[in-house]
Amino acid sequence: MVRQLAIAGTAAAILVLAGAVFFATRGLPASGRRAAAAPTGAAAPAASAPTGRKIKARLFYVAEDGTRLTSLERDVAYGESADEQAREIVAAQIAPVVEPLVSAIPPGTTLRAVFITKSGEAYVDLSREARVAHPGGTVDELLTVYTIVNALTVNLPAVTVVQLLVDGKEVDTLSGHVDLRRPLAMNLTWVQ
């Protein structure tokens, strides 16, 4: 058990390091870098920050058939640390979109906080709308959950699993179906 922990710890450390290298190779230190420390509200889409450095990130939206996600590459503000970058990605992901895009994030949902543990678990704390404004249905809930999980795990190699929180607390589910008691790994089954 101790040995397994040690191996897991080492693996996580390597992943964090890899993540750091990933970002470092993505460009020069920016002047006028976007301040990323404050949680970005859904009303202020990070992708539209005009002066900041950007990275390309793959974001997820509801596909035409309504039963899967589709992904597209969008500009997302650069974050200096993995935590900051994660925050920018989630903020961009949950920002309202206009047709023809459809977001699987319940309307009004904002991001309260994101942090990444040394072992590569990202904790994403969403506002209560993620639950109370959720329209229900297994597919809708799966798409909501895997929008966030995939946005982080696909774009940030440092993140291996994502634990969703709502209003600062662990929740069983968003609308009664998908088990959120454990962190979830990337799952591209739900992406076209």
Binding site: G66, G136, G137, V139, D172, T173, H177, V178, R181, R182
Partner: protein, 508 residues
């Protein structure tokens, strides 16, 4: 030890036999009921008296059987002593003081002439507390097992399936039986010291042409008498909780010529090759189905534009499914809710687990952010790798007393579904087949997802999203009688196939 006991003290325990024995051994009238005392020293009958439906035994007859000393005190109390420990009985009080501890009795002791009568429960509730050996009173079969004897209770039932039939024999506590075929009967030899056989042994009549009856042969042997149409059998046994369940499937002769001349039954042909006599396989023991009507109470689930609520839809369909299955298959159907109330997700699976359901079906209606999404989907639980490993790794080595270690099964309760995933998928495939004849399916009709309600279900379990309430056309369809009847029919078809076709279908 067991073999020695068995050979030294052969005992036959059937209630019918007992009644006769009681008549011979007791001083009472032959119709008087008797309690059979079964110990390693053999068997003896203790006469019982029935007063207002309560069975009594006489203290003066009980005393020698258990080396008890009975003493009548001056104030009317009766003391019963055994190896320095004392039970005090007081007339007109349904209580006994056993070594200072009060226990209740179903009736007070009563005097009959010079004798004291005590309720038969006096043995299990009072004497057993001070007696050296375990005393196991089985009221239903009027049997008292003294000491560590293995005396399983044997119950049997017969079900016919078309022209074939199935004999199910439960031994509680578990005792395995070997089945051998002789000319005109099957011999069931139980690994036990004696049998406690229900009377009659077979309450449901067999099929006259296939089996003629079930009877006791000796202390640990029973026999199934075979009819002229019998062609072969398959015997399998499996533990179900504290029960060892022996299932004997009886196959009818292909040509029914034998039935025309029952007086001269031909020697039984060898069993068909697809049904070899075998033992120790798992078998279907399909009894109970849990139907989960999704959502309820404050949790409405998805709501259609016209106001159809998922919680109402799932309840309506669950009730239809229940009545169809109960009427057509005679299976027990549990609903996780039978009204409009909120039931926590964990309670839904717990209800199924606690009732040892053989299948768990959760009914839902889907929703999508896009109105055009349509079709039914069946979900099987999915687990992330770490969770799957935690349980599929299964055992953990634990040290044992006296050195060494052994493997024990450790599956966290909330991952109970991990060991049923294959069967859950098998049922999902059968349900897809059955549904597609009646109901539009989505492009990927079977999905795997980490669904909370399925994960702790300790039996094959699926969740079915019957269609999209967010799609106006589908919402209309979902609310229709025709659709709901189709779903009930499809579930029935899938359950029948699952019960009959999947090896070990629905076993625990």
């Amino acid at each position: 030890m067991n073999a020695r006991l068995h050979s030294l003290f052969p005992v036959v325990v059937t209630a019918a036999f007992l009644t006769v024995l009681a008549g011979m051994l007791s001083s009472q009238a032959p119709t008087q009921p008797a309690l059979t005392l079964l110990s390693k020293d053999g068997r003896r009958a203790l006469p019982m008296a029935l007063v207002a439906d309560q069975e009594f035994v006489a203290l003066d007859e009980l005393a020698p059987a258990f080396q008890l000393t009975v003493h009548e005190e001056s104030l009317g109390a009766v003391t019963v002593s055994y190896k320095g420990k004392t039970i005090v009985l007081t007339p007109d009080q349904a209580l006994a003081s056993v070594a200072g501890r009060l226990v209740s009795l179903p009736a007070p002791p009563s005097r009959s002439g010079r004798r004291w009568l005590v309720p038969v429960e006096f043995i299990s509730r009072a004497v057993s507390l001070i007696y050296d050996a375990p005393l196991d009173l089985r009221k239903a079969s009027r049997l008292l097992v003294i000491g560590d004897l293995r005396v399983p209770r044997i119950t049997a039932r017969y079900d016919s399936f078309g022209s074939s039939g199935r004999l199910t024999i439960d031994a509680t506590p578990r005792a395995t039986a070997t089945v051998t075929q002789e000319a005109e009967h099957l011999t069931l030899k139980f690994d036990a010291d004696a049998l406690d056989v229900a009377n009659p042994p077979l309450p449901t009549p067999g099929s006259p042409g296939l089996i003629l009856g079930l009877r006791v042969v000796d202390a640990t042997t029973m026999a199934v008498d075979l009819g002229p149409r019998f062609a072969g059998f398959r015997a399998t046994s499996q533990p179900v909780d504290t029960i060892m369940r022996l299932v004997i499937d009886l196959v009818v002769a292909q040509t029914d010529a034998a039935a025309a001349a029952p007086a001269t039954p031909a020697p039984p042909p060898p069993p068909p090759s697809d049904l070899p006599p075998s033992f120790g396989q798992t078998v279907s023991a399909f009894r109970t189905i849990a139907i989960d009507a999704g959502h309820g109470g404050d949790d409405e689930g998805v709501r259609s534009a016209e106001g159809v609520k998922e919680k109402d839809l799932t309840l309506a369909i669950a009730r239809r499914v229940r009545s169809v299955i109960e009427a057509r298959l005679g299976l027990r159907v549990l609903l996780t809710r039978d009204d409009d109330r909120s039931v926590p997700v964990d309670e839904r699976a717990s209800l199924a687990n606690n009732n040892q359901a053989d299948l768990f079906v959760s009914l839902h209606a889907n929703g999508s952010m896009r109105r055009n999404a349509s079709g039914a989907s069946i979900y099987v639980a999915a687990f992330d790798r770490d969770a799957a490993q935690a349980s599929a790794g299964g055992g953990e080595r634990v040290p044992t007393f006296g050195g060494g270690s052994r493997e024990i099964e450790l599956v966290p309760w909330n991952l109970a579904q991990t060991r049923h995933l294959d069967q859950s998928s098998a049922f999902a495939a059968l349900l897809q087949q059955a549904l597609q004849e009646h109901v539009p399916l989505s492009a990927r009709p079977i999905e795997r997802a980490p669904l909370r309600v399925l994960e702790s279900a300790n039996m094959p379990a699926i969740l079915v999203e019957l269609g999209y309430l967010t799609n106006p056309e589908q919402a209309k369809m979902l609310a229709s009688d025709a659709f709901q009847n189709s779903v009930a029919q499809a579930l029935l078809d899938a359950i029948v196939k699952f019960r009959d076709a999947v090896p070990g279908g629905g076993t625990h």
